[in-house]
């Protein structure tokens, strides 16, 4: 579904990603883990068109989309939920969700998606008329995921959903993502720092360090890998 091949990207003179290659198949739940500043967010941003990249480096359903403007990428069915969320803070929850469905013109479909995300996050329904800027951290995160879901995407790129959340809320966000993947069949590419939790829910993963993919494999293998255990799980010694 998504193929990234030898992607080089960065900001101006500063190159962040060096020959990053990864692929995500339909219906998978894949994660990218790695330390701060490794280029995890940059990878997602170059997939969804917020950072420049070469046209052929990113392919979605066989179609090259690298370097396309962000609005065209999102019209192809890719939703990006950023670290900073990028919510419209001066609009109500309901308006934010309506903006999420900007590319859909049929009123019935928008209604349908709205019912779906309200079912997923009942909390948002209670807050429908409240301004997004007045929501709590967890609610904002829910709103960002819900807004991303409003356009009925086939691929969801999620950037650090656990950032700044209490453990309990983190668990509920992960549960929601897992449910989306399992029940709705939505493909998810997740970037996370919370490695333990991430490897529990995802099926496959990549480790990105200093702008390069250093390790790839199934999540089960990864949590037994020496390097991952040492660097990210804080466990010394060999795995079982």
């Amino acid at each position: 579904m998504l193929e990234v091949e030898s992607l080089n990207a960065g900001y101006g003179f500063l190159q962040v990603l060096w020959d990053v290659s990864l692929n995500v198949k339909n219906g998978e739940f894949v994660c990218i883990i790695g330390p701060n500043g490794a280029g995890k967010s940059t990878t997602l941003k170059s997939i969804c068109g917020l950072v420049e990249s070469e046209r052929e480096a990113v392919k979605f359903n066989g179609e090259p989309i690298g370097g396309l403007p962000g609005d065209l990428v999102s019209r192809k069915g890719i939703s990006y939920i950023s670290e900073t969320l990028n919510l419209f803070t001066g609009m109500t929850v309901e308006e934010n969700l309506a903006m999420g469905a900007y590319i859909i013109r049929e009123k019935d479909k928008i209604r349908e998606h709205l019912d779906f995300v309200y079912e997923l996050f009942p909390r948002l329904k209670e807050r429908a008329k409240q301004y997004a800027g007045t929501l709590s951290g967890g609610e904002r995160k829910m709103l960002a995921v819900a807004r991303g879901m409003m356009s009925d995407p086939t691929l969801l790129l999620v950037d650090e959903p656990s950032l700044g959340l209490a453990p309990q809320l983190t668990a509920s966000v992960f549960r929601a993502l897992g449910a989306l993947n399992e029940r709705q069949g939505i493909t998810i590419l997740l970037v996370e720092q919370n490695v333990t939790k991430t490897l529990q829910v995802t099926s496959r993963g990549y480790v990105l360090e200093k702008g390069k993919i250093v390790l790839a494999g199934t999540s089960a293998d990864m949590s037994n890998n020496d390097h991952v255990r040492k660097a990210y799980l804080g466990v010394e010694g060999t795995g079982s």
Binding site: C48, G49, L50, P69, G70, D71, S74, R75, S79, Y80, S82, L85, N86, L87, F88, T89, G90, M91, E95, A98, M99, G100, Y102, I103, R147, G148, M150, S151
Partner: protein, 351 residues
């Protein structure tokens, strides 16, 4: 709790909120303005209120456009007055031939609608020129560099203003091109005050356009997209809004509003090359005083500035007309730099 008790509670909370509002900077400003207008009118006659409403409505239209591009595109448009000038020019060249041909074969219905046609053509033509300006000037500028964007815009728009002023002088000359009145009918008498139909129309038009603009921004798909871009540009891209297209549209609307103001005030401001300079400064006064990018505040601000100018003219004389608003501007910048109503542009100094 009884119904009456509940009602009382609601009334009390409403009362408390009203008091809070009246104590805020916005409340103080608006209440002072209304009091000044009333006192001035009692002292010097109701013309003060009439003049304030007519010019204030138009300054509000200008300032709304300016605040809009500042909020959405982060663009400090110092050529905004020149779109006012283009509005007067378009209206003049449409109304004059119409009036001439109507003078030969009189038609009362056309006579009634000719000014409306002229004003709305100005709205659409100047809006189109605004869209072209964005494509020709700001799209390439944005592509070239995002650094020093505010400074670049400042310089580019000042240059653009000079270009339009001198272009006008080159093509149409420096003669005053104006009309005595749009409608050749006796003025209306309202509560003992005689108001010309032109002024009446200008005020009503401003009110209607501001209301329509507000509804458009709140409920329409495109209006919402414009607000989304002003609040979070990457977020707007992420939901599939074409940000460059919204930028073009925003500048077009902003210029169209300036053109509309120019066209409907043609009887007060005959078209000549530098006619837009005064309105430009006025709209900058407004948006600095109310707070950058605050579209709602710009409406109230338009009337506040208009009142101050009218009062200065009546009590201190014509020469003080720009001095007093300047003093007020300095006071606002010293004591409340975010403006009376609070700035809505985020990170304007950080970019």
């Amino acid at each position: 709790m009884t119904d009456a008790g509940q009602l009382q509670l609601i009334e009390e909370s409403f009362y408390a909120r009203a008091v809070d509002w009246a104590k805020s900077a916005a409340g103080i400003a608006i209440i002072t303005t209304i009091l000044l207008a009333v006192v001035g009118s009692i002292d010097k006659g109701p013309y003060i209120i009439v003049n304030t409403l007519v010019t204030g409505g138009m300054w509000a239209l200008m300032a709304v456009g300016l605040a809009l591009v500042l909020g959405v595109m982060n663009l400090s448009n110092f050529a905004h007055g020149e779109y006012f000038m283009l509005g007067t020019l378009v209206a003049y060249y449409i109304i004059t031939p119409m009036h001439e041909s109507l003078f030969e074969n009189y038609n009362p219905v056309l006579m009634l609608f000719a000014p409306v046609i002229a004003i709305f053509s100005a709205f659409f033509i100047v809006g189109f020129i605004g869209a072209v300006t964005d494509k020709l000037v700001f799209v390439p500028l944005r592509k070239r560099s995002k650094e020093q964007w505010m400074m670049n815009c400042f310089l580019v728009t000042i240059g653009l203003g000079q270009l339009l002023i001198n272009g006008h002088q080159l093509i149409f000359g420096t003669v005053f091109k104006g009309v005595v009145g749009y409608w050749d009918v006796p003025s209306l008498s309202l509560a003992g005050v005689r108001i010309s139909v032109d002024r009446m129309f200008a005020f009503c038009l401003a009110v209607v356009v501001i209301i329509l603009f507000g509804l458009f921004m709140k409920y329409s798909r495109t209006g919402r997209a414009v607000r989304a871009v002003s609040q979070d540009e990457p977020g707007a891209l992420m939901v599939g809004i074409s940000v460059p297209r919204i930028h073009t549209f925003t500048l077009a609307v902003s210029c169209a509003l300036a053109g509309l103001a120019g066209a409907s005030l043609l009887f007060m401001f005959p078209s000549y090359p530098a006619v837009g300079v005064g309105p430009l400064y006025n709209s900058w006064f407004v948006i600095i005083v109310v707070g950058f990018g605050n579209v709602g505040g710009a409406i109230a601000g338009g009337f506040i500035i208009a009142l101050i100018q009218v009062l200065t003219r009546v009590y201190l004389g014509e020469g003080w007309e720009t001095v007093i608003p300047m003093l007020m501007l300095s006071a606002v910048l010293i004591f409340k730099p975010t403006g009376i109503f609070g700035a809505k542009v985020r990170g304007i100094w950080e970019r």
